[in-house]
């Protein structure tokens, strides 16, 4: 789509502003349903943690706190660069927009790489989900539920990070091409909202999986 196509007011709207507001509303509803997708797993975590408090405590001591914490700061900072990318577009600064989007993409990829290193370390130790659990330091009872939830929650989140990076690459290419104007850049805004949701989910995952004592 070209800039002309995205800034055209569709027939059912009386202004571009209203058209964009409708798109934002759709995005917020989508983000709400995304939150509920994760909420189901959070509720499962709460239930199993109540059932196996000692086991969850012991298991979380084997989470990689260093990588988990670095990734927390990475995602928080990527949210800043995302917000600044949109801010640059509002000021009509194309090169700045592309630079901030590139930084956000780099942070996202960095997060994924660290996550892979973390998974590889766990799998080498035998900390694998479900029937594949082979960790000798802790009996599987209860602990395996933490480990399986750890993979489910962080895996689903990492998929969102990866999907977000793909969206950001597309947005960066469009920004480079000059598709976004200070008045019309709704795709960039919606992509930004999605990226912030990825940050939001991690804000809760980090204490629940890495910091419980």
């Amino acid at each position: 789509m070209s800039a002309a196509a995205t800034s055209r007011v569709h027939v059912q709207y009386d202004s571009l502003e209203r058209q964009h507001d409708t798109a934002r509303l759709g995005m917020w509803v989508f983000l709400g349903s995304e939150s509920l997708l994760f909420a189901g797993l959070f509720a499962l975590y709460a239930a199993y943690r109540f059932a196996y408090p000692v086991e969850f405590h012991a298991a979380s001591a084997h989470a990689n706190l260093v990588i988990g914490t670095i990734n927390t700061y990475i995602l928080l900072t990527s949210s800043l660069t995302m917000a600044l990318a949109i801010h640059a577009t509002r000021r009509g600064r194309r090169r700045e927009t592309v630079a901030f989007l590139a930084a956000t993409i780099a942070f996202g990829l960095g997060f994924d790489v660290l996550k892979i290193v973390e998974y590889a370390g766990h799998l080498a130790e035998g900390l694998a989900p479900g029937d594949y659990y082979a960790f000798t330091a802790l009996p599987a009872h209860g602990v395996v539920l933490y480990v399986t939830l750890y993979y489910l929650l962080t895996g689903l989140h990492a998929l969102h990070v990866t999907g977000g990076v793909c969206v950001l690459v597309w947005l960066a290419l469009r920004a480079q091409r000059g598709d976004f104007t200070p008045q019309s850049h709704i795709a960039l805004e919606l992509g930004g909202l999605y990226w912030h949701l990825v940050d939001l989910v991690w804000i809760f995952l980090w204490p629940l999986l890495y910091l419980i004592r």
């Binding site: 502003e17 507001d21 239930a47 109540f50 949210s79 995302m82 509002r90 009872h141 804000i203 204490p207």
Partner: protein, 116 residues
């Protein structure tokens, strides 16, 4: 002819600006660091409460300022708040269930294994 009054172009005006975004990021980094140290200092049930309270504050900052919900249109706040309300209901419902099962614990021995 328009059936509704024209929108007030709120989005362009009510953004925090570059300095505001930096301030929010700084607050997020400080809160994350506080979470890290608090998790070592405060243990047990209170530790989880503290961690969860700080996480909620961080989430509120991201939603309000990075995602512009604070300066956005009310309908966007309503849509997201409804989802959050159901999310809280779901978690409270589950916690109320598992947290009040005093009977269930008598079905497991000290090793946590089920007793017939």
């Amino acid at each position: 002819m328009s059936l509704h009054p024209p929108p007030e172009h709120e989005h362009a005006e009510h953004t925090p600006g570059a300095a505001g975004y930096l301030l929010v990021w700084l607050a997020l980094v400080v809160l994350a660091t506080v979470t890290l140290f608090a998790s070592r200092a405060v243990t047990g049930g209170w530790g989880l409460m503290v961690a969860f309270a700080i996480a909620s504050a961080k989430a509120a900052l991201v939603v309000a300022f990075f995602m512009h919900l604070a300066g956005g249109r009310p309908i966007h706040r309503i849509a997201f708040s409804v989802a959050m309300a159901f999310l809280v209901l779901l978690v409270i419902g589950v916690l109320a269930d598992v947290g009040t099962r005093s009977v269930a614990s008598s079905y497991v021995d000290e090793a946590g294994l089920p007793v017939e």
